[in-house]
């Protein structure tokens, strides 16, 4: 479904991603781990057209998408859910959700997705008239995920959904990711605060200093003594 081949990405003069190759198949949950500041988010952003200077190959369902504008990529069915949420602060929950369905494809399924989101996030719908800037960190994070789901994307690139959240919210995040996956959606996730996620991942990557240092199944990862200690926290 998604193939990234020898991707290089830069912020100004700094070379962030160095020949990164990853593959995500339809319906999988793929987990990207590794130390902070080593390029995990940059990889997700590059896939979603949010990094200006990129080189290499990114193909999605056979279509070459590297360097495409972000709005074209959203239209193809890929969405980015940001670690720092990137909500519209002076708009209500409902308006944020509606803007999540801005792209052409999402528009057609807006009603259906709104019902789905309402069933996943009943608390958000109770507060649909509240301004995004008045929400707590955890609630805002849920809204960011919900807005991402409104895009009707088949591939969700989710960046550290549980970072900075209380344990109860982390379990909510886990449940939501299970539910998204159950709907047949593909999830490419940067996250290392939820050990249970490692259990459900179809594939695990580890990125260090802008390169992939490990690629394998969860069993490979769990059998690797170094990884266990350093990253998986088990």
């Amino acid at each position: 479904m998604l193939k990234v081949n020898k991707l290089n990405a830069y912020y100004g003069e700094s070379h962030i991603l160095k020949d990164v190759s990853v593959a995500v198949d339809q319906g999988q949950v793929v987990l990207m781990m590794g130390p902070n500041g080593h390029g995990k988010s940059t990889l997700l952003k590059s896939i979603c057209g949010l990094v200006e200077k990129v080189g290499g190959e990114i193909s999605y369902s056979g279509e070459d998408i590297i360097g495409s504008a972000a709005d074209k990529i959203v239209n193809l069915g890929i969405t980015y859910i940001a670690e720092n949420r990137e909500l519209f602060p002076y708009m209500t929950v409902k308006e944020n959700l509606k803007l999540g369905a801005y792209s052409k494809n999402a528009r057609a399924n807006e009603k259906k997705n709104m019902e789905w989101v309402a069933s996943l996030f009943p608390k958000l719908i109770e507060r649909q008239k509240q301004l995004a800037c008045t929400m707590s960190g955890g609630e805002a994070k849920m809204l960011a995920i919900a807005r991402g789901l409104m895009s009707d994307a088949d591939l969700l690139c989710i960046d550290e959904p549980a970072l900075g959240l209380q344990p109860s919210y982390r379990l909510d995040v886990l449940e939501i990711i299970k539910e998204i996956s159950k709907q047949g959606k593909t999830v490419f996730l940067v996250e290392q605060n939820i050990p249970q996620l490692t259990e459900m991942a179809d594939k695990i990557y580890i990125m260090e200093e802008g390169s992939i240092s490990f690629e394998g199944s969860k069993d490979d990862a769990l059998n690797n003594e170094d990884l266990k200690e350093i990253f998986l926290g088990l």
Partner: protein
């Protein structure tokens, strides 16, 4: 005395309504693109000359009704194309906000000298939209003023409705509030920038058509309008639409009272004093966001 004050208030309200229409357009472009359009005053004159051309040499059937009908799409296209051709390429460079200001300043001078070359250096006057007066006891209202007020307020209500009830309007607000978030949900920023510029061109162009009937069309008059629109947006808070609305009526009123009590020569001094005091105490203006 009392009736004179009522006259002054009415005059303040009418000017305030047209200023509001224009300032909201200017602050909207700033809010969305974070770049200031210094050619704004020249677009105001474009409105005046456009109406003059259609009404006097062309003699368009239907008078002002037809003028508005033609002007709105024409102003939209002019604004859209100017943004695409002149401003959009600048955004590829660093520090483009500054470059946009330089370019629009140049565009403003180009347009002003262009008006002089095409229409001559002398001022022109527009015929009134409607004749007659409405007498309420001792207070006399010109029909023209009533129509100008209704059209300005109506224009703003339409604009507010479009901004809050259409997908493009919501996208405009989204880009203003969080450009990165707007990109994530797939809003095409280039289109929104051009559309915003085009909408603001309509607003100031209509302001030009409405207010030039009461004053004159002066080929070099754009600076005055630019100062007014800029003072209102800075006083109200750059990028804040509600701030601009309040500021426009406050300054419209101030202008009417100062003009009546002290003389027109003190009007700009009074408004600029208010601006400087406000910005010293509260740099973000009345309702600007930090």
């Amino acid at each position: 005395m009392v009736f004179e004050i009522i006259d002054v208030i009415i005059s303040g309200l009418i000017n305030g309504s047209v200023y509001a229409l224009m300032a909201v357009g200017l602050t909207l472009v700033y809010g969305v693109t974070k770049a200031f359009n210094f050619a704004y005053g020249s677009f105001y004159n474009m409105g005046g000359y456009f109406a003059w051309m259609l009404l006097i040499p062309v003699g368009l059937i239907g008078g002002y009704f037809s003028v508005f009908f033609v002007a709105i799409p024409v102003f939209f296209v002019v604004g859209y194309l100017l943004e695409k051709i002149l401003i959009s390429p600048l955004r590829k460079h660093d520090d483009w906000e500054m470059k946009v200001m330089m370019l629009t300043l140049g565009l403003s001078l180009f347009m002003d000298f262009g008006y002089q070359a095409v229409f001559g250096p002398r001022i022109k006057s527009l015929p009134g939209m409607i004749e007659g007066t409405l007498e309420l006891g001792q207070v006399v209202l010109f029909h023209q003023d009533i129509v100008i007020f209704i059209l300005s307020v109506g224009g703003m209500i339409c604009f507010g409705w479009l901004l809050n009830n259409t997908r493009t309007g919501m996208a405009v607000q989204a880009v203003a509030q969080n450009p990165a978030g707007a990109k994530i949900v797939g809003i095409p920023k280039d289109f929104i920038f051009a559309a915003t510029f085009a909408i603001s061109t309509i607003m100031v162009g209509l302001g030009g058509i409405l207010l030039s009937q009461k004053t004159f069309i002066d080929p070099m008059g754009s600076t005055n309008i630019m100062i007014k629109a800029w003072v209102i947006t800075a006083f109200g808070g750059m990028g804040s639409i509600s701030g601009s609305l309040y500021a426009a009526f406050i300054l419209g009123m101030l202008e009417a009272f100062v003009g009546w009590h002290f003389g027109m020569i003190y009007v700009q001094i009074a408004t600029l004093t208010l601006l400087l005091v406000t910005l010293t105490i509260r740099p973000r203006g009345l309702m600007g966001r930090e």
